[in-house]
Amino acid sequence: MKILVTVKRIPDPDESLKFAGNAIDTSSSKWVANAFDEYAVETALRMAEHIGNKDRLAEVIVCSVCPKDKRQHVTQFLAMGADRGVIVDADETAMDSQTVAKLVAEVFRREGCDLLVSGKLSQDSEGNEVAQRAAGLLDLPQASFAATLRWDRGANALTVGREVDDGVETKTIPLPAVVSVDLRIVLPHSVKNGATADDHKYSDGARLASLRGITMAKRKKVDVHTPAALGVTPSSHVAVAGVTAPEKRAAGQIVDSAQTLVNKLITEAKVL
């Protein structure tokens, strides 16, 4: 079993946005890993590990489209426990989701993977597209927004609890397949791989890199491909119509009595 996990670097969501012309200025941004990708790698690791036993049930490969010298996020996931990395050396900000999906699909094919796990979206563009597009390109069954996942190794299938608007939809899909994960996939009982005891309690949330992981990460293999070598020409069909900061909210007012408040709500805010 080979699990490919897509991971992306994004400008630190903790930092306030800067604008330059008709774009967001990321020139001085700190780049961090997308949080949903942490959940995706955690999901893959829970599937791969047989708790209480040294055997691994799957190889976990993290794949990122990024400049090859900006791979801190890939190292982070290798430190977290992924087995190896694949980098597609390209400026990911100059391509659309369809190009990223093509690159990911091609890596998936060449590696001969059985499962693609993605975060449901990246926190910067919130596109929520790559997993679905890759599933289409690979012509594989998909389950998006997974909150629970059970791997039935006998049937070579996954049963996925999907968080949808009106509740949780449970869906069984045969492998190979594509899954995108939501926040609750990292609750202590969300992932079951049929080998680790079903009642095993994982830590809440994605694991942090341990010391051993950090030391090991430096020795793990990372392959670097160019888009050309994967037979993909990067392009973007997205035209930016405009980028502006949200309007600033007016300062609040402190009023000295309830009567003044009511008067202002009637005459100024006009909400009463």
Partner: protein
């Protein structure tokens, strides 16, 4: 507590009504009890007669003058997050709350100074400094509620003392309303001002017993270029200290070096409804939270610092100082790790902890803790002792948790009797009975362990000189 409650003179109320608008004065209802106490639960009554909520310095002066004229005592009050009862009115005092004086008055980025009213929260000051790319480095868990005025009155410490010192280090100037009603300006814009006694320092840490801080000029500094945070699983307290020495020797600039034991972590995980395990499996008896400063901006410097810390910890692991460690890869993971430490007080709250905030010389920490834990086992059967603290400052927060079935009053009585053991032990190890919380009502009977009779006499002399009629916070700090 046997001190008599004094009734509010009717003429005082007339004067207060003249000085304050009706909504700036609370004379009845639940608000009295709300404003009348801080976070310290003691065996004293909560009995304020009136709460004044002035909006201006002139109003504060008027309240002080009215109280002085009518012989009514004043309890100056901030965010009431204190843990020693210093902001508690026990006998009909007038509570003078600075809550409505919360403006940030001025930020001078060139001089790196911020001037604010005393009721501004510590967090509001931090945010105002951050808007100018600067930092107010005094930082503690209650910062969202604690007022700058209260933090000055208690010389608050917190989690960054190791790197930045106590509140005292950051107070450049104060405006203080004193017993005569006069508003003194003590220091301010000048860095250098060697002109006799530095009166400003007297009001810092005085817990409101000498006057009312109404405005502060605070120093700011440049924030660190970045921070790297790690949490270590450590087998015991002695090795926490060895780890501290090792990280410092490695040439890393420590912002914080905190510790908490398994008892603390378990309560935090329970309190947050975390169903899973903590960060380490198997659970660790002790934890060290390490925050290291990145010396310059940029990803490369950040990575180099993270690598240096990882290398230092890997060495420590090889030598058995730590069992394991995790490093935060980004800000949100760092906040998660910090929350495990900072949520401790809140998480212990439901176990009605009996707390002691003490400090001992850093090298004495393991010996002191071992002796203290032994005494708990001997003298308080069935009581669990959990400890967290700022190892780098020699500051420990000792907590005794109430057994589930024990009557709260019986438990409080047992603990109170045990306090004398704790503080005598602190004295034996050349420590302080109050590291950063202050004395208030809670610890005045134990002050003698840390202050000599000569010092106590001089402190009484200062009180007498600045507040001869005992107008401000009577009964606090100095034993009656």
């Amino acid at each position: 507590m046997s001190e008599p409650t004094t009734a509010l003179p009717p003429a005082l109320l007339v004067d207060l009504r003249a000085a304050l608008a009706s909504e700036e004065l609370v004379t009845e209802g639940d608000d009295l009890a709300y404003y009348g106490t801080d976070r310290c639960r003691g065996d004293w009554p909560v009995a304020p007669s009136v709460v004044a909520l002035p909006r201006t310095v002139e109003q504060v002066q008027a309240v002080v003058r009215a109280c002085a004229a009518h012989g009514a005592a004043i309890v100056p009050s901030g965010g009431r997050t204190g843990l020693c009862g210093a902001a508690t009115a026990t006998r009909g005092e007038v509570v003078l709350s600075l809550q409505r004086m919360h403006r940030i008055l001025e930020v001078d980025p060139a001089a790196r100074l911020l001037r604010c009213e005393a009721g501004a929260t510590v967090e509001a000051v931090q945010l105002a400094a951050a808007e100018h790319g600067l930092m107010y480095p005094v930082d503690f868990a209650a910062k969202g509620s604690a007022h700058i005025g209260g933090s000055i009155a208690t010389n608050a410490g917190g989690v960054k003392v190791l790197r930045y010192g106590l509140t005292r280090s950051w107070v450049q100037g104060l405006r203080v309303v004193v017993a005569s009603g006069e508003c003194l300006r003590l220091g301010g814009g000048l860095v250098k001002d060697n002109t006799g006694y530095d009166l400003r320092q007297l009001f810092i840490g005085a817990e409101g017993t000498l006057g009312v801080v109404v405005e502060a000029t605070l120093r700011l500094c440049a924030p660190p270029a970045g921070l790297v945070v790690a949490l270590c699983a450590v087998p015991d307290e002695a090795r926490v200290l060895e780890l501290f020495a090792r990280v410092q020797a490695h040439g890393l600039t420590l912002q914080a070096f905190e510790c908490f034991d398994q008892g603390c972590l378990r309560r935090v995980l329970e309190h947050r409804g975390m169903q899973g395990k903590g960060p380490f499996d198997p659970p660790s008896p002790q934890h060290a939270l390490i925050e290291v400063e990145v010396p310059e901006p940029g990803d490369a410097a950040h990575e180099a610092t993270a690598d240096a810390l990882a290398e230092c910890l890997a060495d420590a692991q090889e030598q058995g100082l730590i069992a394991d460690a995790v490093l935060a890869a980004n800000g949100s993971q760092a906040r998660e790790l910090w929350a495990l430490r900072e949520d401790t007080s809140e998480s212990l709250h439901r176990h009605r902890p009996h707390k002691s905030d003490v400090s001992v010389p850093v090298a004495e920490l393991p010996r002191f803790l071992a002796a203290w834990r032994r005494r708990v086992v001997e003298a308080l059967p069935g009581v669990e002792a959990v400890v967290f603290g700022h190892i780098g400052d020699g500051n420990l927060h000792l907590n005794l948790l109430q057994p589930e079935r024990e009557d709260p009053q019986a438990f409080a009585a047992r603990c109170k009797a045990f306090d004398e053991h704790t503080y005598a032990l602190v004295a034996e190890h050349h420590g302080s009975v109050s590291a950063e919380h202050g004395i208030g009502l809670l610890k005045r009977a134990h002050l003698h362990h840390s202050r000599s009779p000569g010092e106590l006499q001089m402190m009484r002399g200062i009180k007498q000189a600045l507040d001869p009629t005992g107008l401000f916070n009577p009964g606090k700090v100095l034993p009656p």
